[in-house]
């Protein structure tokens, strides 16, 4: 949400100079075990409380999901899915939705505002509000449809993985509050190991396709799920194989050099124009008139 003057940034949006990376921290991850989640929304409330967010009091639109979707003031919401994975077998899958903190973050890649999105060495992807220009490219760049632009200040918001808490050795607020231990937090390696163990236990319990959701299309994520049906993440509105939009790749890959060339060309052209024609004069009178308004 705001810069913490951190010295462990490994990537910054739209910045070519090296990141301040004098310090490095271990890779962390949050693991959400949906088989233990009861959808109590304590994590939603903890998120609101820690981040001092109070969304509007909405309406019930015929579902348990409230607020119905992520908003600039709701950085995590529970999503409820009534599914019948096999004929006649009803399941109520409940998924805590929010930023996945991709290892290869599409938002950061897409962001044109220097330093508005940073990635720390621990893996957290954070939005730095004072640098955000509200263009919404991060929304397009996110394969999970997470960032939301605030109508109040025209800036993008999403889960910070409580970077302020994690930075001082605490777990994220949602992890701390989860009553059933469905959300755990630790080093990325530990969480992968634990997640795989849990998936194995679920397979024993009869969920043959239980598995860890740590999609490699975005380089893995720092928020992972243990899914009962890891073969079908789309049952609960998760992309089976998320990747960064080709448009972002195009912008960063082929288009960016062209754009840079275009910009360089414009500067060069401007230089020659200046040398040959002289400075562009502004309408001094009109500007001066503005300045002479009574103070």
């Amino acid at each position: 949400m705001s810069s913490l003057q951190s010295q462990d940034v490994v990537a910054r949006s739209a910045t070519t100079t090296p990141s301040p990376s004098v310090r490095s921290t271990p890779q962390i991850a949050k693991l959400i075990d949906e088989s233990k989640c009861i959808g109590c929304k304590a994590c939603q409330v903890a998120c609101m409380n820690w981040n001092d967010l109070r969304d509007d009091i909405g309406e019930n639109i015929g579902v348990y999901d409230n607020p119905a979707d992520l908003t600039p003031s709701s950085w995590t919401v529970m999503k409820f899915f009534e599914v019948e994975p096999e004929n006649g077998s009803l399941e109520w899958l409940i998924r805590k939705d929010g930023c996945m903190h991709c290892e290869d973050p599409g938002c950061l890649k897409a962001c044109p505002a220097p330093g508005a999105i940073v990635k720390y060495s621990n893996g957290i992807v954070d939005f730095i509000s004072e640098n955000c220009i509200g263009c919404g490219y991060c929304v397009k760049g996110c394969p999970f449809d997470v960032p939301r632009i605030s109508a109040k200040d025209n800036k993008a918001y999403k889960c910070t993985l409580c970077s302020d808490r994690v930075g001082v050795g605490l777990e994220p607020a949602c992890v701390k509050t989860c009553p059933t231990g469905a959300i755990t937090f630790g080093s990325k390696d530990d969480m992968v190991t634990y997640g795989e163990k849990r998936a194995g236990e679920l397979q024993e319990r009869g969920f043959k396709n239980a598995g860890l959701y740590n999609p490699q299309g975005v380089g893995g994520t720092h928020v992972m799920y243990v899914l009962k049906h890891a073969d079908r993440p789309e049952l609960e509105d998760l992309p089976a194989n998320p990747t960064i939009s080709p448009m972002v790749s195009l912008w960063k890959g082929i288009a960016k050099p062209l754009a840079v060339a275009g910009m360089v060309g414009a500067v060069v052209a401007g230089f020659f124009h200046y040398m040959k024609v002289g400075p562009v004069e502004s309408d001094e009178k009109s500007e001066g008139a503005d300045e002479k308004e009574p103070s």
Partner: protein, 815 residues
């Protein structure tokens, strides 16, 4: 809970029925997930709705509301037919071998002794046969047709899987699957726990719902054992505390039966409540009743309670009739109550049939509200359009509102479902002029005492003589009150005489003025005082035991003996003697809780629920409070019969009790009290064809949290739930506004259309459910909504009078 939250982790099977633990008790539910992950325990949920608990369960079976006894009676039949019982446990720990009176009978819906006019039973033919020695006659072979085991077998043989399915709507194979899972815990090394809540209590057969399950747990040998028990999950942080202190009319603190008009002398009162053992060598611990009661009277009246005045027995009110919650509002409705002090209670929202409640409040001269929040009750007189359509110009009731502090704004104790009393400190000061309830009551009392002293009045003694030992009379501190509840010695308490040398001087075990160490030393001669015998030991000479926060669990069995204080005697599992076999060896060596070490029961994981020196061969039963020494499969204390029997809810979507289809008088509980006017207000299935139930959501607590913005954000506005099939029939789509009507009122709310509620085949017809969450009203920061109890019927359980909120009839339509 007979066991504790932390003990759930020891179980092999969790049954959630008559409750929705994940939804209503999310913090305690962690122990269910703990058992599932680390013990590979299975979770089974039986509920009309596929709930949040069902979402994480291994097995779910649907059931029609109000048919739990039919289901569980069927389970008993399954266990007995298939010999899936823990036979040694049953013989050791239940009355299965006891002979029942010859005259006891059950016929077509009625037990012997029914009086139709009084809607009650003469229990003379119920109960055990007594021999000439005063003890119950037994048949150890359990073959005598009069023995409880055979009587029970006969009674439940009628609950065949086919009939169970026809009544409950649970598909037969799903019912049998649940039976099979439960039956698996008849093995000595397997234990099941049951977590229930108001889904069982809030029925006209509520107490019997729980009893049926208790019988199952006894047959399976799961009572008194780690990972077992009958576990009532309490719905408020301190509702266990309010029941323990018995802030209602039928009992005094510590579950001591309150005197009635029939108990005109102390002698009679004590005699009726001091039972003799019904079998040899039994502790019949309630023989100590006079000690508990006398110590309570000393706590009430101090020096004014003397042997000469029968310890002020005459000053205590003698009940002349029913004063339970329904009876109270019935009296108010009849105009028999002038004033009402409503403390921490929002009856307009929380009691059935809002229309009746509203009419009752109008008849009051004055209404005093003590609450931290602006409750609906406090504004029953104000017009909120269709949500509360009253005419204030026609209401003369004067309403006073005293703002009180909220739980975090005062120091004191909570008692949780595990019976653990925990001390907590005040976090912030209350806002504005809000005061602790204790201060408001103290000031009121001081004022009344002054008025009695000055002006006199009828029977001033109970007020004038009340013990008021607080340093500041206007503000008794919670510490002073808890010390008083624990009790102290008024005179030196001496050790009992030595049987070998009765004339030897007796040692002083508690010095005059000291805090009592436990309830065992309470006396009936007025030398001790104790505000609640089961809490004795919570604040001893060593200090405040409830403030202990040692999270050590020496045995790893989730006992935490030095965390707070659990009543009674800091015991974490009740009846824990039953965790060991007849020889005192634990049934399951891997969960060794208590064992006879040759000389004593001490040294186990918990405080033994047994005289520590009672050698197994003495045959002292594990159920020490019962004069039988064992648990009751045949319980005379119940008002509608010693064996639980299925009766339909008072509003039934079937219209007939399939257990006795030819007896129209036994459709619903024949012993439940129904007031005139309420009978007429019951709806019929022809006009109201859908089975409705009310319930809580995890995002809210009752009618409080609608005042909190965070809660309002995560669950903002009222809704009801129906299944897809019914929605289609009625042309209702997701999110549509619908009107739900009962014969007493209506609510309008958004509709959640769900796959999680399916029509059930009941007696050849499809029965649909309508689910109604309760949390909205016309005060608070959520969107306003109709009070759900506009719909519910004014009838209660035949024993506890808990209202039947969980099964009634409605109709539904799109607005």
């Amino acid at each position: 809970m007979t066991n504790s939250w932390t003990d759930i982790k020891n179980t092999d099977l969790v049954l959630i029925m008559g409750g929705n633990a994940a939804e209503a008790h999310p913090c305690g539910f962690k122990w269910v997930t703990e058992a599932m992950q680390h013990r590979k325990a299975k979770l089974v949920v039986v509920d009309p709705r596929f709930t949040r608990s069902a979402a994480v369960a291994d097995y779910y079976a649907p059931i029609r509301v109000g048919t739990d006894i039919a289901f569980l009676g069927g389970v008993i039949n399954y266990l007995l037919t298939n010999d899936k019982i823990h036979r040694d446990y049953v013989k050791l720990n239940t009355d299965s071998t006891f002979l029942v009176k010859e005259g006891f009978a059950f016929d077509n819906g009625f037990f012997s002794g029914y009086n139709e006019d009084k809607r009650s039973y003469d229990k003379a033919t119920w109960g055990y046969q007594l021999g000439e020695d005063g003890y119950v006659k037994v048949d150890d072979s359990m073959q005598d047709p009069q023995c409880v085991f055979q009587q029970m077998k006969k009674h439940y043989s009628r609950y065949t899987p086919e009939l169970v399915s026809k009544i409950t709507g649970t598909p037969k194979e799903q019912f049998l699957k649940v039976c099979e899972l439960m039956a698996g815990t008849a093995a000595t090394n397997k234990v099941m726990t049951i977590c229930y809540a108001l889904g069982w209590t809030q029925h006209s057969v509520g107490s019997q719902n729980i009893r049926t399950m208790a019988m199952i747990q006894l047959l399976l040998g799961n009572m008194g054992r780690p990972g077992g028990g009958i576990n009532a999950l309490r719905g408020h942080a301190n509702v266990q505390g309010i029941t323990d202190m018995c802030a209602y009319s039928e009992v005094l603190s510590g579950y001591l039966g309150a005197p009635t008009d029939a108990d005109d002398t102390r002698e009679k009162y004590l005699a009726a409540r001091t039972p003799k053992p019904l079998r040899p060598n039994q502790m019949a611990f309630s023989q100590n009743f006079p000690k508990w009661h006398t110590s309570l009277m000393k706590a009430y009246y101090g020096a004014a309670a003397t042997p000469e005045n029968d310890f002020a027995y005459d000053w205590v009110p003698k009940r002349d009739g029913a004063y339970d919650i329904l009876a109270m509002f019935e009296r108010m409705h009849q105009g028999k109550i002038n004033g009402f002090i409503c403390q921490g209670f929002n009856p307009l929202a929380a009691v059935p049939n809002k229309k009746k409640l509203s009419a009752a409040f109008i008849k009051l001269k004055y209404l005093v509200i003590m609450d931290p929040l602006e409750t609906e009750t406090s504004e029953f007189w104000k017009n909120y359009g269709p949500l509360n359509d009253v005419d204030p110009t026609k209401i003369q009731t004067e309403v006073f509102r005293f703002p009180t502090s909220c739980f975090a704004e005062e120091t004191g104790s909570f008692t949780n479902s595990s019976r653990v009393i925990s001390w907590k400190e005040k976090a912030v000061d209350p806002p504005g002029e809000a005061k602790p309830d204790s201060e408001i009551m103290a000031r009121l009392f001081i004022k009344l005492r002054e008025m009695y002293a000055k002006e006199g009045g009828a029977l001033p003694e109970p007020i004038a003589g009340l013990s008021w030992p607080y340093i500041n009379a206007n503000t008794p501190s919670p510490m002073e009150v808890l010390r008083e509840i624990n009790g102290r010695a008024i005179a030196d308490v001496l050790a009992p005489p030595d049987p070998k040398d009765p004339k030897a001087p007796r040692a002083v075990v508690v010095k005059a003025g000291e805090q009592m160490p436990n309830f065992a030393l309470l006396q009936a001669d007025g030398s001790t005082s104790c505000g609640n015998w089961i809490y004795a030991g919570c604040w001893t000479q060593a200090g405040n035991m409830t403030a202990r926060r040692d999270n050590a669990d020496p045995t790893g069995l989730g006992v935490f003996p030095n965390w707070g204080f659990a009543w009674p005697a800091n015991r974490r599992i009740l009846y824990n003697r039953a965790s060991a076999d007849a020889n005192g060896k634990p049934w399951d060596p891997s969960r060794k809780y208590l064992a006879w070490n040759g000389t004593s029961w001490a040294g186990g994981a918990d405080i033994p629920d047994m005289r520590p020196d009672a050698a197994p061969e003495q045959g002292v039963g594990a159920f020490i409070m019962n004069p039988e020494g064992v648990a009751r499969l045949h319980a005379v204390g119940m008002n509608e019969g010693p064996f639980p029997e299925h009766y339909e809810p008072f509003e039934t979507p079937v219209g007939v009790n399939l257990m006795c289809p030819t007896n129209p008088k036994a459709v619903s509980n024949p012993a439940a009290r129904v007031y005139k006017g309420d009978l007429e207000a019951f709806g019929k299935k022809e006009e109201f064809p859908y089975a409705a139930t009310t319930y809580r959501l995890t995002e809210h607590l009752h009618y409080w949290t609608k005042h909190s913005r965070s809660n309002a954000i995560v669950q903002p506005s009222p809704f009801v739930e129906i299944g897809e099939e019914l929605a289609k029939e009625k042309g209702i789509k997701q999110g549509d506004q619908v009107r739900v009507r009962s014969n007493r009122g209506e609510v309008i709310a958004a509709c959640v259309v769900t796959k999680r509620m399916k029509g059930l085949d009941v007696n050849g017809k499809k029965v649909h459910h309508v689910g109604i969450p309760i949390h909205w009203g016309f005060k608070g920061v959520t969107h306003n909504g109709y009070l759900a109890n506009a719909l519910t019927p004014f009838v209660g359980d035949a024993n506890s009078q808990t209202p039947e909120f969980k099964a009634f009839l409605v109709n539904i339509e799109k607005v």
